[in-house]
Symmetry: D2
Subunit: 342 residues, 4 copies
C-alpha cells in the first residue's frame, strides 16, 4: 500500500539572480499555503524591475558530533587536543568511507568528563547527512582503538546540531551559509509593493529585530523564512525537517541613497542536488529546471541550488514585510487569494 | 500547470495510546526518509508490549501579536493596561470576525515606546493561523479607533511567534502542549530495543540535555522531534512550517522501579483537523483513519490529533535513542533499510 | 578577622530624571573601572541639556519557583490547575510568613511528570529574595499536605530564575521592569557627544541589535548595561549578582523629527531600599541621598531606586555608543582617564 | 570626596585543590550574602574529606570584535577571507601595541554587508580587556588602510561578547575555560551534606538541567555560579561585571561506583592577577595569599587564579544543591546564619 502526500506545486517567477548564480530563474514551490506563490511572485517581479538579487555563498559544510567519555576532564582535554591535531590521519579514515567526503575541520567542547567532537565535512552536491554519519562512524571506531581510555557515548551528540534549534550552527556553520541582497529604487517600492523604503526599514527593525528579541528568539530575526524554505525543499526533494535550522537567519533593511537595501542572511541552508529523495520524477525535473543537474565541479550544483533558495526566500520575505507595513493588507490578500483558488 | 510534490506515505503501527486518546492506532507518515517508518514502527511495537503511551494535553491556544506605537513608554503602559483590562469588549470584536475564535488571554511587552500585544485565542479544531490574523485585524481597528494616541506598526510583531524559534511559545503557549509518557519493562527494553533502561537514561542526559545546552539550544532537548512532526504534518494536511516551534521540546528518561520511564514534552504541536490543506483526499482519509473527523465538541478532534502526534513522536524518539546507545547500530540500520527499499 | 573589599565610589551627575522620579539627582557609583564615572557623567550632562530622562516602571515582582513531582503528567496537570486556582488560600499561607509579601501570580510549567511552579510576589521595598524563599517554603508545606500525591523535588527549580540567564524573567517579569527614554536635540548630540543622531541609530542597529543576534544573545541587545548596574548595585548595598539578569535588556535608538530618540528597556532591575546589605553606613547614606529612605507607601522607595538606576544605565549606554561611532575615541578616552588618575 | 563601598570579606576553606593547582588553599570571598561563606565552607570541608577538587584549564583567550562595513556581501566575504588569512601581518601590528598580547585566532561572521571580526588574543596574566581593545584599535587602522573598500562601523560589535549573555563565548571561548571535578564517597555525602549521591544527581537533572531549559536559559545549567564568582571577583580586584558571562556554565552530577561524581564546567572565567584594580592593598594581599603573584611564565598566575576560582564555585554549588535536596533546609540555614551574625 504505497501512497503519497501530494503537495501542490507551482512555478514562481522568474526571479532575477546574480552573484553565485546568474539568470532569470523560475522556481518551483510546493505548498499548501497558496498565498505563498503570490507573495514570492511579487518579490520576483520586483527583482526584475531592479538589478536583481545578488547571492553570495559564505560557507559550506555538513556536520556530525560524537560524544566520547573520558575518565576525567584532564584525560578528555589531552585526548581532544590529540584528536583535533590528527586531521590528516582522520581524513584517511574518512577517505575509506567515501570518495566525496572531506574532513574540513574539527571543533570540540568538553563538559564534565565528556568530549563533544564536532566533525565538519565537505559533502559535494549532497546535503550529506548519511555521508557524515558514516564518516563519523568510521572515525569513532578509529578513535576508540587508538585511545583506549575513551569510551563510546553517542554517535550523535546534539552538538551537530541536526534539525534542532541551536547557536552552534550559526557560529560554526552547517549547510550552506548564503547572503541574498537587493537594492530597490524608491519608485519600484511604491509601485510594486505599495510602501516606501523607510517603512520597510522601520518594520524590519521593530518586528524582525526587536520583536524577535522580545520573543526570546535565538539567532533568528526574520518574518517567515520557514515558509519559503519548506516550499522549496519539498519541491526539490530535500529533507524538509532541516527548515528548523534554516529558519534561523537575519533580515536586514536600510535606506541607502534613497533606495531600499534589503538582505537575507541564511546561515543554514541545507540542500543537495543529489541523494535521497532527489530521484522522484518531480524532483529530478525541478532540479533540472533550476540548472542543478549540470556537469560541474563537486559542490557547485549544490551551491547553485542554495543560492536560488536564498533568492527565493528574499522574495517572500520582502513581499510579506511590505504587506505588513499597510494596515489590513495581509488579511485582505489572504482572503482574495484563497477565494480565488476555489 | 498544476503539479504535486509527492511524498511517500505509509501507515505505521498500531501505536497503543492512552489518556487523551484510547486505542491502538495506525499512523500515516509521509517522508522521504524511509528509515523513519521503521524507527517509529519499532517504538510502536514497544508500546504494544507495555501498557501503552499515555498522552496528556496541557494547553491549547493560537496566537498573533501586533505592534502598536505610542508617543512614549508611559503612554504605552497606560494603553497596554487598559487594553489588557478590556477583554470582554475585545471578545465582542472577535465574535464579529468568527463564530469559533475566543480570546483566551492577552499578554503584552513594552520595549521603548512600542507595545507588543500577544493575543491568544481558542480556535477549535483548526490550527487557526488565519482565524487569529483575522481576529487580530479586527482588534487592531478597534484599538486604533479607541486609542488615538496609538498608531499602527505591524499586524505581526514576531512576539507571536509564528514558525520561528522562540522562548515565548514555550512559556506562554502556542498550539497544543502535550506530554507523552511510557513505562517500559527492562525485559522489553532488552528484547525490542537491544538496550537497557540505564543506557537510555544515560544517553538522554548526555546527548539531549548536556549536548543541547552545549550547542546553545533554546528550550530544546531532544534527538529528532522534527522528523516525526514533519512526516505527521505532511500526512495530515498541516502547514509543516510549524515544525520549527514544534522541534522545541524536552525528552526526559529515568530508571524507575527497574523500568524505563521516558517522556516527550511537546509544548508547541500545531495541528488542525479542519482548515486549509485538510480537504485533499489523502488528508481526509488519514484524518478519518485517526478518528479526527468525528462529531465532537469544538477542539476535541484537534486535541485527539495532537495527542496521537505526540505519541508518534515518542515512538521515533525512543527508537533513535535506543539505537544510539549501541556503537554502529544507527548506520547499519540506515544502510539495511535503504538497500531494502530498492 | 573582618576585612572589606573596598570599591572606589564617586557621585556622578546630577542626572535630570522625569516620570517615575522628578529631579536632578547625583548618583553614587562604585567601580574599579574609573572611566565609567566619566562616561555616565557625560550622559548626565546631556540629560541636563535636554528635557531629561523619562522613566516608566512597567512592572514589579520577585519570584521563586519550586519543583513538585507527580506520579505522571496527568496528575501533575490536575494538581497544577488546582493549585493555580487557589490563589486566595495560598495568599493566606503567605500572610503567615510575612506582613509585606503578597502573592501576585502563579505560573506553572509541566515537563514529564514534574511541576515547575513559579510563585510571583509583591515584596515592597525589599528586593525580596529571602522573603519569597520563605513564602515558597510555607506554600510548599501547604501543598504537600493538601496534595499527598505530590512529592518534594526542590525549593528552587531554576524557573525562578535567580542570577542566571533566562527568557522567563523577561517574559513573566522578575524585579522591576523599567524603560528610560531621552530625546536629544541634534545640536546637543554634536556638541556634547561629538556624533549625530543618525550615527547613534546606525551603530545601535548594527552593534546592539545585529551584533547581539549574531553572538547568540538572548533577550539582550545593549552595549554595557552590566557595568552601570554593577556600580549602582555596589554603591547602594544590593546583591550585585543580580546584574546577570539585569544585563538582559534592549537599547533602541532612532532619529525622530531630526532629534535622537534613545531608550533603554530594562526588564529585570533587582534592587531594594531596605534589607540585607542596606545597613552599611555608605549604603544608608547613598540611599538617603537618592531620596529612597523617605516615608512612602510600600514599594515606592524601591520604585524610585529602580527608576534612578535605569536613568543611570541610559547615561552610560548613550556615552559609550556615542564614543564608539568615532574611530579611536574609546581607546583614547580610556588612556586619558586612566593616566589622569595616577 | 573619595569614598568606598565596603564589601565584607572573609577567608573560607581551605579547599583541597588538585590538577591545575595543587594544595589546600584558603579563599577570600567578599559578599553581602553572608550565608555564602558557610555554603562554600561546607563544600571546602567535603573537599578535605575526599581526594579534593581536580581542576583542568581547557582554554584561555580574551576577545574583541570589530564591525567593518563593505559595499556588499561579496566584498565582505573577499575581505574577511583575506584578513583571516593574514594572521602573521596582523600579529606584527599587535606586537606594536603590546609586548604581551598575541593574536591566537580570528573568527568572522557576515550578516548583510557587514563583517563581524572576532579577534582572539593571549593576554598573559591580565584579564586583558584594555589590551585587546588597544590591539583591535591598531588592527582596525591597519585594515582600513589596506582595504579601502571597507569602512569603520564599530570598535566593539557585540560579537566579542563583553559582559553580556551570549552563545559565542561558550563555543569560541572568552576568558579561561575551566572544569572542576570532585568524587565524593557516599558516607561523606551523608555525614557532611545530609544527602545521598542519588539525591544530588536527581536534583541536578531536574533543577539545573530541566529547570534551566524550561526557563529558556542559554548555555547555563547551574544553581548559583554568579554568587561565588561575584564574591571571588570582588575579593581579588576583578571587574565583577564579567560574572554575566561567568554565570553561564554547566553542573553535572552522577552516581559512579556508589560515589557522587560532581563537576562544574565554567567556560568563561575572566580574571587577572595583574592589571586595573589589582593594586588595592586588599587585592594584593589576597592575590598573594592565593599564590598568584609568584614569578611564573606569562599566564600561569592567571591560570592558577582561574583554577582556584572554579574550585570555589564547585564548593558553593555542591553545598546549595545538597541543601535543596532536603525540604526546609535552605530557609532554616539562612535564618540561622543571619541571626548568628547579629
Amino acid at each position: 500500500m504505497s501512497r503519497f502526500a501530494e503537495i501542490p506545486m507551482r512555478n514562481v517567477g522568474p526571479i532575477r539572480i546574480k552573484g553565485a548564480v546568474e539568470g532569470d530563474i523560475s522556481v518551483p514551490l510546493a505548498t499548501l499555503e497558496t498565498p505563498l506563490w503570490f507573495s514570492v511572485g511579487r518579490g520576483a517581479k520586483v527583482s526584475l524591475q531592479s538589478e536583481g538579487i545578488t547571492t553570495t555563498i559564505l560557507d559550506s559544510r555538513m556536520t556530525r558530533s560524537i560524544i566520547l567519555e573520558a575518565p576525567d576532564a584532564n584525560s578528555a582535554l589531552t585526548a581532544a587536543r590529540n584528536i583535533a591535531g590528527s586531521k590528516e590521519e582522520l581524513q584517511k579514515v574518512v577517505a575509506e568511507s567515501s570518495h566525496i567526503a572531506k574532513l574540513l575541520d574539527i571543533n570540540w567542547q568538553i563538559a564534565a568528563n565528556l568530549i563533544y567532537l564536532r566533525l565538519e565535512f565537505f559533502t559535494g552536491d549532497a546535503s550529506g547527512h548519511n555521508m557524515v554519519t558514516n564518516a563519523a562512524d568510521k572515525i569513532f571506531g578509529y578513535i576508540l582503538e587508538k585511545y583506549p581510555e575513551l569510551s563510546y557515548c553517542s554517535i550523535s551528540g546534539n552538538y551537530c546540531c541536526d534539525k534542532k534549534v541551536s547557536a552552534v550552527n550559526g557560529i560554526l556553520g552547517r549547510g550552506r551559509s548564503v547572503v541574498a541582497e537587493i537594492t530597490i529604487p524608491r519608485g519600484i517600492c511604491e509601485e510594486y509593493l505599495h510602501t516606501t523604503p523607510e517603512k520597510i526599514a522601520d518594520i524590519n527593525t521593530k518586528k524582525n529585530l526587536l520583536g524577535s528579541i522580545l520573543a526570546g528568539s535565538l539567532m533568528s530575526a526574520n518574518a517567515h523564512y520557514a515558509n519559503m524554505l519548506l516550499a522549496f525543499y519539498l519541491a526539490t526533494g530535500q529533507d524538509a525537517a532541516n527548515i528548523v535550522e534554516g529558519s534561523q537567519g537575519i533580515t536586514f533593511a536600510e535606506v541607502k541613497d534613497d533606495n531600499l537595501y534589503l538582505s537575507c542572511t541564511l546561515p543554514n541552508i541545507i540542500v543537495g542536488s543529489v541523494g535521497n529523495g532527489k530521484n522522484a520524477p518531480y524532483a529530478e525535473e525541478n532540479l533540472a529546471q533550476l540548472g542543478c543537474r549540470e556537469e560541474r565541479n563537486p559542490g557547485e550544483n549544490g551551491d547553485r541550488l542554495a543560492a536560488i533558495c536564498a533568492a527565493t526566500v528574499l522574495c517572500g520575505e520582502l513581499s510579506l514585510l511590505a504587506a505588513e507595513t499597510n494596515p489590513g493588507e495581509l488579511m485582505k490578500a489572504h482572503i482574495r487569494i484563497e477565494r480565488g483558488k476555489r
